[in-house]
């Protein structure tokens, strides 16, 4: 049975190593995922940690620079928070979507994000908006002279 025990020892070693890896991994990489209100409640303790916050993008608040810097305001209906970000902007990101940002919150009510995710609104699968198309109705903002084939672009920098 001595040999059988060796195998059990090996199993225990694998188990312990896994537990350690998971424990250390969780401890060092865990991030609180808060709503905006929860974040405001936790001031000032929240300033020290990296957190993840989600809120809806306030329409018209998106300011985008060509070099990739992005500023916008997210809201949960009660509080507004200004977000500053630089990096990859998801194709889904636009007014009113739910934006999920990860980074640090500062006393100036500015959130410095290093990660931006955008979630499609839940009406994605709904039939809302189909009404408009009853008669094959179709409006093309793009065709109002903003875009011309092969002409230099005049559109906004999206």
């Amino acid at each position: 049975m001595l040999r059988g025990k060796k195998v059990i020892v090996a199993i225990i070693i694998v188990g312990l190593t896994l537990s350690y890896l998971v424990y250390a991994g969780v401890k060092e990489t865990m991030i609180y995922y808060l709503t905006i209100s929860e974040m405001i409640e936790r001031v000032p303790a929240v300033y020290d940690n990296k957190i993840r916050v989600s809120g809806n993008v306030v329409p018209g608040s998106i300011k985008k620079e060509l070099d990739g810097r992005l500023e916008f305001v997210i809201t949960d209906g009660e509080h507004n928070v200004e977000v500053k970000y630089k990096g990859v902007i998801p194709d889904v990101f636009r007014d009113e979507v739910e934006a999920i940002v990860e980074g640090t919150y500062t006393p100036e009510n500015v959130f410095h994000a290093d990660l931006l995710l955008a979630k499609c609104p839940t009406k994605y699968e709904s039939t809302e908006g189909l009404e408009l198309r009853k008669e094959g109705y179709r409006k093309k903002d793009y065709e109002k002279g903003v875009y011309k084939p092969d002409a230099p672009p005049k559109g906004e920098s999206i």
Partner: protein, 669 residues
């Protein structure tokens, strides 16, 4: 046409219920006619679901917008190809695809086992029909793809632009063929538990199905990674996103299963372990489908959300509860026939391999459900991100590569010192040499050096195996090429497995190189200005816009040089789809990619302004193409392994009959 679909679904539901009942009664009363009737039921369900799927495809093709599914997922300007692939763009359609693929598998299982009088076969039919009942119930009664709208719109909402990509069009099908295919070994496992014939029969009968499903699942993962790489425009291929994890976990446990069944076949050990593994794998398949389709965890891939969540959870709970109770009830019959004699033996190497695969699956599972658990326990959502998954999985992955080299060469039962020296001296030297050269060349990334030298080690062990086999045959007077082809075709399982391992080595090399040595750079350029990224020189030449039927295209022309050598023009795009505001997602970034065996030049058009200035995000990703090449090699190896050899066919015919007379728990085949 839609009515045909609906009626087919209802009929398929009833017939699945019938097959289940008939097989159950047939198994209890040992009436062959009832079992045969259940078998016919499986064929009929396949026919009906084919009809249902065909009628939905037809509705998609003829733009029947009176159907909610068609109106929500297509539009007039969508091409015919993507109208067909819209079958799995939404929830109802992809569940229909699930059920349909299951019915194909069920019919094939019935066909291949039509002449077997095996005790467990009726129970396999019961299990497959039960799963089928659940899925048909979902699409027939809860979330029907044939649901009508109160009015008929003139145009639909369009297909998500992210889904309009060749890889996205086929990758869900591959994943589903893999996912659903894992129901077959599960059904055989359940068949063994329910019937009590717990010998190796269930594993032998389902081995090829498992391999087939596993191959497709793996390829599906790779195709999905390739889709993310080409379409999501952030330069990576894997992000430990919940949906990626959902498909990755069953792959991990299925891989463990593929290895541990060999121990059961060869030594009659690990029977309980194998049974648990296949139950866990099937649980993870259902859990994966659930995560993807319920939207419970926010993810970039959750394209659909709905209220089938509770139903799905109940089904998962039922499957787990039922299968593990059966397992406990029958565990007496799953006694091991051998035992581990040494911790340095092939059995043990396979056991460690299994433990680590399972550990990896557990760690991914924990990380994925962590926010749900913490929210339930503490009322706070706490996330763990990609760093967690990398920290935990990279070390385990490295040990797995090491085992991949050791496992095939170490001897059974107990490895002697001679065995070690004989088999591992060349590979060890080769691995160490690789490490030395890399360090000498200035590579200081610890993980990368370890990973590359382990890959060298594994490659050398495989080469040694091939060389030995060929040499033996050459001595008998065969020429080397003939010897090689005979060697592989006479031992398909073994050498096919080695080829799969080589495919993995390629993937690991690609992942290591592209994660350790990626170069990223962002720049805003005026026309005519240049930027340097790694060895590449890029000049932004021009920006053009034009409109095609489905979208407005903005395309930048970037000339590329490497040193003095011109590499031509790359054209990254940023597109706006015409959806008249009905689709929330209308933007699409089309990256420009120049892929070589050494590295990928990956250009994203991140933005532009009215003055013609444009901002670019550029990556040089080393050796990414090795990952895709590895996928091809795995496919080749897996095909070799699955292809029945003449010898195996004879053996299989010989073992069909003994399996029948296996008594409870006394099986020794």
């Amino acid at each position: 046409m839609a009515e045909i679909g609906t009626v087919s679904l209802y009929l398929a539901f009833i017939i699945s219920l019938y097959s289940m009942t008939a097989a159950l009664l047939g198994a209890k009363s040992r009436r062959r006619d009832l079992i045969k009737s259940a078998e016919s039921g499986l064929y009929v369900v396949f026919f009906l679901l084919t009809l249902a799927a065909a009628s939905l495809v037809y509705a998609l093709l003829v733009r029947d917008y009176s159907l909610k599914y068609v109106a929500s997922n297509t539009s007039n300007d969508l091409s015919a190809t993507y109208r067909v692939t819209a079958l799995w763009a939404g929830q109802a359609g992809s569940l229909l695809l699930w059920a349909w693929i299951l019915s194909i598998y069920s019919a094939l299982v019935a066909w291949f086992n039509r002449d077997k009088r095996d005790e467990l076969i009726p129970y396999v039919y019961i299990t497959l029909s039960a799963i089928s009942v659940f899925f048909i119930f979902l699409i027939g009664f809860v979330e029907s793809p044939f649901e009508r709208l109160a009015f008929t719109p003139g145009d639909g909402r369009g297909l998500n632009p992210l889904l309009q990509n060749a890889y996205m069009a086929i990758h869900p099908v591959f994943l589903y063929i893999g996912f659903v295919g894992l129901s077959v070994p599960f059904a055989f496992g359940m068949g063994a538990l329910l019937s009590g014939s717990l010998g190796g029969g269930w594993i032998r009968s389902s081995r090829r199905w498992t391999l087939f499903a596993w191959t497709f699942l793996g390829l599906g993962l790779l195709l999905g990674a390739r889709w993310a790489y080409l379409e999501l425009g952030w330069g990576g291929y894997w992000a430990w996103d919940p949906v990626e994890n959902a498909a990755f976990m069953p792959w991990l446990t299925a891989t463990a299963f593929l290895h541990s069944v060999m121990i059961q076949e060869k030594r009659g050990m690990l029977k309980k372990w194998n049974m648990s593994l296949i139950i866990i794998t099937f649980f993870l398949v259902l859990f994966g489908t659930f995560i993807t389709r319920s939207g419970i965890i926010s993810s970039v891939h959750s394209f659909a959300q709905s209220d089938i969540g509770p139903l799905f959870l109940s089904f998962i709970a039922f499957v787990l509860l039922f299968s593990f109770s059966m397992f406990l009830l029958r565990q007496g019959g799953l006694k091991s026939e051998g035992r581990f004699e040494s911790f340095l033996s092939r059995e043990s190497a396979f056991l460690y391999n299994n433990l680590i695969f399972l550990a990896a699956a557990v760690s991914v599972f924990l990380g994925t459900i962590f926010p749900i658990v913490t929210e339930a326990l503490k009322g706070e959502k706490i996330l763990v991100g990609p760093p967690y998954f990398n920290r935990v999985n990279v070390p385990m992955g490295l040990v797995l590569i090491l085992l991949m080299g050791i496992g095939p060469l170490i001897s059974w039962r107990k490895a002697s010192r001679e065995n070690f020296i004989k088999n591992f001296s060349y590979p060890t030297v080769f691995g160490a040499l690789t490490a030395a050269v890399l360090l000498f060349l200035g590579m200081r990334e610890v993980y990368a050096v370890i990973s590359f030298s382990l890959c060298a080690f594994v490659t050398a062990t495989v080469a040694v195996e091939f060389w030995r086999g060929v040499r033996v045959r050459c001595r008998r007077g065969e020429n080397p090429l003939l010897a090689l082809s005979r060697l592989v075709s006479k031992n398909r399982r073994r050498y096919g497995g080695y080829i799969v391992h080589v495919g993995f080595v390629l993937i690991v090399i690609g992942i290591t190189a592209s994660s350790a040595f990626v170069i990223r750079k962002e720049s805003v350029l005026n026309k005519g200005e240049t930027m340097t990224v790694g060895k590449y020189l890029l000049r932004y030449d021009d920006l053009r816009q034009y409109t095609i039927e489905a979208k407005d295209v903005t395309v930048a022309s970037v000339s590329v040089w490497s040193g003095d050598k011109s590499l031509g023009v790359l054209r990254p795009e940023s597109n706006l789809f015409h959806y008249s505001g009905n689709r929330e997602i209308d933007k699409e970034t089309e990256v420009a990619l120049r892929s070589t065996i050494k590295d990928d030049l990956y250009i994203i058009l991140a933005g532009f302004d009215s003055g013609g200035r444009a901002s670019f995000r550029v990556l040089v990703n080393p050796m990414v193409s090795w990952i895709w090449a590895g996928g091809v090699v795995i496919l080749i190896g897996a095909t070799f392994t699955m292809w029945p050899s003449a010898l195996e066919r004879r053996q299989e015919q010989a073992v069909v009959y003994p399996a029948e007379v296996e008594g409870k728990g006394t099986a020794k085949t």
